[in-house]
């Protein structure tokens, strides 16, 4: 029994699931669900569809180079059954899985590094531009004590506190 990979999205195709298309040159295309099959029939390129693994790999969204990827592979030769080996493999699987998950988390964290500062900056700019949506300029002119001075004091300090006037 083999767990094949989907041609389109690279997810695992378990027995009894998905559909298989054999082209007239005997090439086999396996699909994990009708979504992938339909996308194939529309002649879409998996490298250009954002939710596929191929896209995510190509654009640095997922980890690419790692030693944990060397274990799972298609083995086109029969292996003689060895009880000790099978036991060792079963023991190693959860360990390797744990290591891979940890490395993937690290990769994700690394990728998202500069994001928080960027988000804060964008939020601050939006607040500055859209402050009139919360308080019309005429109100601000009449009673400057409402929000404007509060912001002026808060800007040089912490940027997170700037969001307060929006919550009102």
């Amino acid at each position: 029994m083999r767990l094949e990979k989907c041609w389109f999205c690279s997810s695992t195709v378990y027995p009894g699931h998905g559909i298989q298309f054999v082209r007239n040159d005997a090439k086999i295309f396996r699909f994990c669900r009708s979504k992938c099959h339909k996308n194939f029939k529309m002649k879409r390129n998996p490298r250009k569809v954002k939710w596929t693994k191929a896209y995510r790999r190509l654009h640095g969204k997922d980890m690419t180079q790692d030693s944990t990827f060397e274990f799972e592979r298609k083995r086109n030769r029969p292996e003689r059954y060895d009880r000790n080996l099978a036991e060792d493999v079963l023991k190693a699987i959860p360990k390797i899985d744990k290591i891979r998950v940890r490395r993937e988390e690290k990769h994700h964290k690394n990728r998202m590094k500069g994001n928080k500062a960027k988000l804060l900056k964008e939020a601050a700019r939006e607040l500055e531009q859209g402050i009139n949506l919360v308080k019309p300029p005429s109100v601000l002119q009449k009673d400057p004590s409402l929000t404007l001075p509060q912001i002026k004091v808060l800007v040089p300090q912490q940027q997170t506190e700037e969001n307060r006037p929006m919550e009102e």
Partner: protein, 119 residues
């Protein structure tokens, strides 16, 4: 492609898009065309005479997998936008394959074992 097509709800006037459907199923895949283009020139066979095809199957566009009735029509085809688009796409990276899908899924290269016979 497709041609004249009355509204689908009018049962009497429906056309069967035989030509459209035929091209859909007989069309070569991207990877087949790519492989054929990559083949060295010596391996390419001369086009066989086939009286069922337009122009006895002698005027063929490899990129678009189409036969034409004569040289003039084929050269006209070479100037179309569709053809140029396909040519451009074929110049790029190789089309997606099952191996690419497996590598993207976190699998290693397939293990075929040692070569049994040295040829």
């Amino acid at each position: 492609m497709g041609g004249k097509c009355p509204h689908r709800s009018v049962k009497k006037r429906r056309y069967s898009h035989k030509t459209a459907r035929r091209t859909k199923f007989l069309h070569k895949g991207d990877d087949m065309v790519y492989d054929e283009l990559k083949m060295p020139d010596e391996e390419k066979k001369p086009l066989p005479l086939d009286e069922d095809l337009p122009g006895m199957g002698q005027y063929y566009c490899l990129h678009c997998d189409r036969y034409f009735s004569n040289v003039a029509v084929r050269d006209e085809h070479f100037r179309t936008k569709r053809h140029k688009k396909i040519v451009k796409r074929m110049m790029g990276p190789a089309p997606h394959t099952q191996l690419d899908a497996e590598l993207a899924a976190g699998m290693g290269m397939p293990d075929n074992g040692p070569k049994l016979m040295s040829m």
